[in-house]
């Protein structure tokens, strides 16, 4: 048995209390962020089943009228919303995330008549790495940012490249665009905003620049730890690159079971 002085006892108590509070804070912040992401996607509180059924009806009608293009488009949109709105866990596989990007780009290509193209460079070890976990909707907001901000003046040859590198214990994902990029001040501001304290999303306010990236960055830190975050590189006329560095954790590992 160890006899502690009052001072030492309170010091130990203080350390444990701080740890417990920090853990609680992390838990609640993670929960709030999950809700924020859902909110962002749900937008006007659309009933998902109503949406899926409506889209399915349109698709059936299109098939019956021999209009494969509309059928395909409806199917893609339906898949995209099914993934985005689904509340089944916050962690998905990298393969799911890449699929949703293909879906999302397909929708954008329909909308903007092939103004943008997507190139995905998968590693040779893709078969081993595709079951790795990643917070849901990590890549889509980055790709959306490129489309909204990087290419708003670009009419042709707009290219988004996703490059995945698998190392022994980690996965590096780089999303690059060849858009207009940003100047040093804007880049510094964006990087600074990523490190700011949590903000509560207010749907009534206009979606601000960088909120989506802030959200992605914060969720990466909450899920994997403070040492994991987004890296952003950009220069005027030379495009923007967003890099994600995450640990390789299989969806079947204990880590995801804990999360459930």
């Amino acid at each position: 048995m160890k006899i502690l002085t009052n001072k030492k006892f309170y010091k130990i108590l203080d350390i444990h209390t701080k740890d417990a509070v920090k853990q609680m804070e992390r838990y609640y912040e993670n929960e709030i962020l999950k809700k924020q992401t859902e909110l962002l996607m749900l937008q006007n509180q659309i009933n998902p089943h109503f949406l899926y059924n409506a889209l399915e009806c349109i698709r059936a009608e299109a098939v019956m009228n021999d209009n494969p293009k509309i059928a395909d488009m409806t199917y893609t949109i339906s898949n995209f919303f099914r993934y985005s709105i689904s509340t089944k866990g916050d962690l998905v596989t990298l393969s799911d995330e890449i699929n949703v990007i293909h879906n999302y780009m397909k929708i954008q290509q329909y909308r903007f008549r092939d103004r943008f193209s997507l190139k995905v460079n998968l590693p040779d070890t893709w078969a081993n790495v595709k079951d790795s976990i990643i917070p849901k909707l990590t890549l889509q907001p980055i790709v959306e940012n490129s489309i909204v901000h990087a290419f708003n003046d670009v009419i042709e040859n707009a290219l988004i490249t996703i490059e995945i590198v698998h190392t022994k214990k980690h996965i590096n994902i780089r999303v690059s665009d060849n858009g207009k990029g940003m100047d040093n001040n804007k880049l510094q501001q964006l990087k600074y905003s990523l490190d700011q304290e949590p903000v509560i999303y207010e749907p009534s306010k206009k979606k601000g620049n960088g909120l989506a990236l802030w959200n992605v960055n914060r969720r990466l830190k909450l899920v994997f730890g403070d040492e994991y975050s987004l890296s952003i590189y950009s220069s005027p006329d030379l495009g923007t690159d967003v890099e994600i560095h995450i640990p390789y954790i299989s969806i079947n590992s204990d880590f995801t079971k804990k999360d459930d």
Binding site: P123, T167, L187, E227, Y233, D237
Partner: protein, 255 residues
């Protein structure tokens, strides 16, 4: 068999503040084993400062260090890094072998220098790495290139896994002995980060080139794609280089 990339190191969110002035801001940089990385920046952009932080001469204000994909402390990280600068750190009045083997941290329980032993060790090392520099020659009598080669050898002996070549003159890069030693050390798991304000110099050896501007990294590019971009756009001013006619691209088989 599919080979995995292995990350040699990664520095994340490194900042350096001096008297309330932010001299380096949120620097992220990484290097895979087998690759050579270039760090490009104009004068006073922070290249040497970053190199000094990486080799432990300066302490950063914040950030994370990873070595072989494990989080490590700054001091643990810097144990694997050796910096070579234009001004040699070797002692001019001592011989090559004395610089290599006497001036190193060791655990030998002796205060006497075993001259014959270190001479043999130096000769063996020179033979192993295909170098022909007289071990008994005083360092002050060597050329700049030879001094640089001896420093690279010293880094290898000290167990460095990352050698930073900070602003080394381009004339040294054009010498075959230098490129041969880089290649040989790479096969022995010693990798290089080259810093320079001359993009053409970095293109000689680098697989990827990071661009440092206004105290932060604004971009990294693959060397083979480098010529497709106009680098002057990064600095909002035309950058003029006097390109040496003897500039050539050295291509080695990947390690």
């Amino acid at each position: 068999m599919i080979s995995l990339n292995e990350e040699l190191y990664r520095i994340q969110n490194i900042s350096y503040k001096k008297e309330n002035t932010l001299l380096l801001s949120n620097i992220d940089l990484y290097q895979y084993k087998g690759e050579t990385v270039g760090l490009f920046g104009l004068h006073d952009s922070g290249k040497t400062l970053l190199s000094q932080i990486m080799c432990g001469e300066l302490n950063p204000s914040g950030g994370y260090f990873f070595y072989e994909e494990k989080p490590v402390s700054h001091s643990e990280f810097s144990r694997h890094v050796f910096m070579i600068q234009e001004q040699t750190s070797l002692i001019g009045s001592l011989s090559v072998m004395e610089n290599l083997f006497v001036l190193r941290k060791h655990r030998l329980n002796t205060i006497f220098v075993r001259k014959k032993a270190i001479l043999i060790e130096t000769i063996n090392l020179m033979n192993e790495l295909n170098l022909s520099i007289n071990p008994n020659e005083k360092v002050c009598n060597l050329s700049k290139l030879e001094q640089c080669l001896i420093e690279m050898l010293k880094a290898y002996i000290l167990g460095a896994k990352l050698v930073i070549l900070d602003n080394i003159p381009i004339t040294i890069f054009h010498d075959e002995r230098f490129s041969n030693l880089i290649y040989k050390l790479k096969t022995r798991n010693v990798f290089f980060l080259i810093t320079s304000c001359d993009i053409y110099q970095l293109q000689l050896f680098s697989d990827r080139i990071y661009i440092l501007s206004d105290n932060h990294i604004v971009k990294w590019i693959y060397n083979e794609r480098r010529n497709k971009i106009d680098i002057s756009k990064l600095f909002n001013q035309p950058i003029t280089y006097i390109e040496s006619p003897s500039v050539f691209l050295v291509k080695f088989p990947s390690v």
